[in-house]
C-alpha cells in the first residue's frame, strides 16, 4: 500500500496544473472574430415591378425570414395575424418564421457572418444594441415605407397613419430605420376595487398624492406604494416624467443629448427629492429587494395600493390578477401650480422595435411585411391579442380592450400632445445602468439627491467623451 498513495497525489497535482492551463476567461472563447473583408460588395437586393398591389416592388417569388422575440407578446401575433395578412396579398412569397428568446445570441453571428435574416423583432433582455447596428449600417432605410401608400387606403401614405413620435423615435442619424410598433403608456397603477372599497380618490396634485399615501399607511389596509426594487428603471422613469412635468420637455431633451449639467437641473432635483421622500416614508417593506413580478404580485394580493408601470402590466399579470381587481392607471399628479406641463401629461412612447436588415438577401420583403403590420387590421388584432396599443392611429377603436388597457388608452387620448419620453435608455445603455444603480440607492436613502445627480452627471460626461460610443441627438 505504501507504494501507491504518492501516485494518487501526483495525479491530483497534475489535475490542478491542467486546471491552471485552462483559465477563467470563458467569455473570451464565446466571441468569434468578425468575418473580415466583405461588406458593401453584396449583390443588389431583388426587386419586382412596382404596382398598386405591390408599391414597394418586392420580388414576388423570393422568400424571406421573420424573426420574432418570443417574450411578453409571444410570437402568435406574427404567426396568426401578420404573416397570413402578408401572404394573403403575396401568395408566392415564402415566409420562414423563427421565434427566439435570445435575439442577440441567435442573430449576432449571422450579422457578423454577413447573412442576417430580413425582418427582426429586436427586443427583450438579449436584444442587439441599436447604436451598434446603426453605426455599422445594418439598418435598412425605411423612408420609402413611410412614403408608400398605406395597406388600407392607397390615397393615404403610411406616414400619415402612424403617430409622429413613432417616426421620431425610429430615426437614427436622420434616417427612419426602426419601426416602433407597440405604444406604451406609463402611469401609476391601482386596483379600482381596492380604491372603491376604501373610498380612496385618484390624486391630482402632489399634496393629494402624499396625503393619500399617508391615509393608506394609517389605515393599515396595505402599504401605500412600491416599485420593482431590483429594477430601478421603474422608478427613475417616474422621476424623469415628473421632472419633465415640472420643467418642460427640454429637461429630458438635455438629458438625452448628454448636455453638461442636464442632471443637475432644478426640475430633476425636485422630482428626485419628491420620490426620495416617498421612498423614505411610504414604500412597501422589502421593496428594494423585490423584482417587478414579486411587487406586481403583491399588488394583485392587495398588499400594496399603487405602483408605477407601463401599459404592458395587465397582460404580464393576467395569470395572477383576481377577477374583480379592476386594473386602472392615473397620470402622475401635478407637482405644483407652476408646472411647465399640465395635469394629464403622460410618459408615452412607442416601443417594441422591429427593423429590416440592410445587408440581408431580400430587404424589400421585410419592408412590405411592415406595411402589412401597420394596416388597421394587423394593428387592431394585435391590440386585442396581446393587450397592447400600437402606433397605428385609431387601430384599437371598436376593438374589445381589457379594463387596464382601456384606462391607459383613455389617459393617452386625454393627454393629447402633452406626451413626454426620453431616449438615452436605448442610446446609451451604460448611462441607463448607472441611473438605475444610483436611483436604487436614492430610494433606499443611501444617496442624497445632490450626490445622485453628481454621479449620473459624471457618467453622462464620460460617455460624451468616449469616442467609441456613437452619439445621438434629438
Amino acid at each position: 500500500m505504501a507504494d501507491h498513495p504518492l501516485s494518487r497525489r501526483e495525479l491530483l497535482r497534475s489535475a490542478a496544473l491542467a486546471g491552471l492551463l485552462l483559465p477563467a476567461a470563458g467569455a473570451l472563447s464565446a466571441c468569434a472574430s468578425p468575418a473580415g473583408g466583405g461588406g458593401g460588395a453584396a449583390s443588389p437586393a431583388p426587386t419586382g415591378p412596382k404596382t398598386a398591389a405591390n408599391p414597394l416592388g418586392i420580388a414576388e417569388d423570393r422568400p424571406f425570414e421573420v424573426v420574432i422575440f418570443d417574450g411578453g407578446y409571444g410570437d402568435a401575433y406574427a404567426r396568426t395575424i401578420h404573416e397570413p395578412l402578408f401572404t394573403g396579398k403575396h401568395g408566392k412569397v415564402q415566409i420562414k418564421h423563427t421565434a427566439t428568446k435570445e435575439i442577440a445570441k441567435t442573430l449576432q453571428p449571422r450579422f457578423a457572418g454577413g447573412n442576417p435574416p430580413e425582418f427582426i423583432n429586436n427586443s427583450g433582455d438579449n436584444a442587439m444594441d441599436f447604436g451598434a447596428l446603426a453605426q455599422d449600417g445594418q439598418l435598412q432605410d425605411l423612408t420609402e415605407l413611410l412614403d408608400a401608400p398605406s395597406w388600407d387606403d392607397p390615397n393615404v401614405k403610411v406616414r400619415d397613419t402612424i403617430l409622429p413620435s413613432a417616426v421620431e423615435l425610429g430615426t437614427y442619424d436622420g434616417k427612419y430605420c426602426v419601426l416602433e410598433y407597440a405604444n406604451t403608456v406609463w402611469g401609476i397603477w391601482y386596483s379600482k376595487k381596492l380604491f372603491d372599497d376604501n373610498g380612496w380618490q385618484v390624486p391630482k396634485t402632489w399634496d393629494e398624492f402624499t396625503a393619500l399615501c399617508e391615509k393608506i399607511k394609517k389605515s393599515g389596509e396595505c402599504a401605500p406604494f412600491t416599485y420593482a426594487g431590483k429594477h430601478p428603471f421603474y422608478i427613475y422613469e417616474t422621476i424623469l416624467t415628473l421632472a419633465a412635468k415640472i420643467g418642460g420637455v427640454d429637461v429630458l431633451k438635455n438629458i438625452d443629448n448628454l448636455q453638461p449639467g442636464a442632471w443637475k437641473a432644478g426640475a430633476v432635483a425636485t422630482a428626485a427629492g419628491a420620490f426620495a421622500e416617498i421612498g423614505a416614508k411610504y414604500l412597501m417593506e422589502g421593496t428594494e429587494g423585490l423584482d417587478h413580478i414579486q411587487t406586481q404580485t403583491a399588488h394583485n394580493k392587495y398588499q400594496v395600493a399603487m405602483l408605477p408601470c407601463g401599459s404592458w402590466l395587465e397582460n404580464e399579470q393576467k395569470d395572477s390578477t383576481p377577477e374583480d381587481f379592476g386594473y386602472a392607471m392615473f397620470p402622475l399628479p401635478s407637482f405644483s401650480g407652476s408646472d411647465a406641463l399640465p395635469y394629464g401629461t403622460v410618459h408615452s412612447r412607442p416601443g417594441e422595435e422591429y427593423f429590416v436588415a440592410a445587408k440581408s438577401a431580400n430587404p424589400r420583403a421585410g419592408m412590405e411585411y411592415m406595411r402589412a403590420m401597420l394596416s388597421k387590421e394587423g394593428a387592431g388584432k394585435f391590440s386585442e391579442l396581446v393587450s397592447a396599443l400600437t402606433v397605428v392611429k385609431g387601430a384599437a377603436e371598436g376593438r374589445t380592450l381589457t379594463p387596464g388597457l382601456e384606462s391607459a388608452a383613455g389617459a393617452l387620448s386625454q393627454a393629447g400632445t402633452n406626451v413626454t419620453y426620453f431616449r438615452f435608455r436605448q442610446w446609451y445603455k451604460e448611462l441607463h445602468d448607472e441611473v438605475a444603480a444610483a436611483t436604487g440607492q436614492l430610494m433606499a436613502g443611501r444617496l442624497k439627491v445632490d450626490a445622485w445627480a453628481d454621479r449620473i452627471q459624471k457618467k453622462s460626461d464620460e460617455i460624451k467623451d468616449d469616442s467609441s460610443v456613437k452619439k445621438f441627438t434629438r
Partner: protein, 313 residues
Amino acid sequence: MSGTARPAGPNRVAFARARFIAGFLALPVLLYLIYVISPYAQAFHIAMTNWRGVSASPAFVGLENFRRLLGDGVFWTAVGHNGLLLLLLPVLTIAIALFFAFLLNAGGSGGGVSGVAGSRFYRVIFFFPQVLAVAIVAVLFQQVLRPDRSGMLNGPLIALGLRPVGFLSDPRLAFWSILAVLVWQAVGFYVVLFSAGMASIPREMYEAAQIDGAGRAQMFFRVTLPLLWDTVQVGWIYLGIAALDVFAIVWVMTAEHGGPDHSTTVMAAEIYRNAFQYFKFGYASAMGVVLFFFTVAFAVAALRLSRRERIEF
C-alpha cells in the same frame, strides 16, 4: 536483394515510436489549438479594435481600450471583489471543509480512529450542493434571502416583529451574502476531497499519536494537516481559480447583475456586461486580456508557493 530483411536500427525504432506518439497526440493538440489557443489569440486581437459585435471590419485602435480600462471605476471595483474572493473563498472553504472532514473521519468519540456517528450519511448530505447546477443554487438562494415574508431567513424575523435584513438589497451586505453562498456551494466537494485524503493516511499514525496521549486538536494539527498538505494545496489552487472565475452566482442572484450599485460585481460579470449588453466587444476583450494576465499571475504564484517538502509515508 530479395529475402534480406532490412536492418532495424535504433533510428528506425525511434522514428516509429515518435510516429506512434504523434499519431495519438495530433488530434488532441489540434483540438487544443482550435478551441483554446486560437480564441485566446483572437481575444488579444479583438481587444485592440473598437468592434461592437456586428461589424464585419472593425477598426484597429491600438491600446485605447486598455487606457480607458485604467479609468473605469466599476471594473476596478470588480477587480477588488475578485481579489477579496481570492483571499477569503479558499480560506473559509478549506477551513470549514477540513473541520467537517476531520469530524467525519477521525472526530468520533468511540475507541480507535473513526468519524462521528452517522458520518456516512453526512458525507452524502455535504455533497448535495455540488450536484446542483449553479443557476439552481443562485435561484434557490434568491428565495432564501428574499426580503419579504416568503424569504426563509427573513420570514421568521418578520414574524418576530423585526425588520427584514436586505441580504441582497443592502450594498453593504450583498457581497458577504454572495461569499456565503459560494462557500456553501464549494464546501461539500472539499469535504469529500479531504476525506479521501484522510482515508489514505495510515491508521497507525493516529493510533501512535493516541497512545502518546494526543487530543483531537493535536491530532488534527500535528498529524492530519501535515499529511494532507498536498491535497490542501490542490484545493487552494482550484478555489483560487474559482474565485477569479465567479460569474453565474453573481449574475443570476443579484439585482442589476452585480448590484445593487455594483456592490457584488466581478470581472467576469463586467466582461459579460460590456460584451453582451453594451456591445463593446473590443473593450470587453481588453478586460478579458487583463483577466487572463491576472489568472496567469495567480497560477505562477501558486506554483511557486506550493513547492514545499513532501512528507513521505
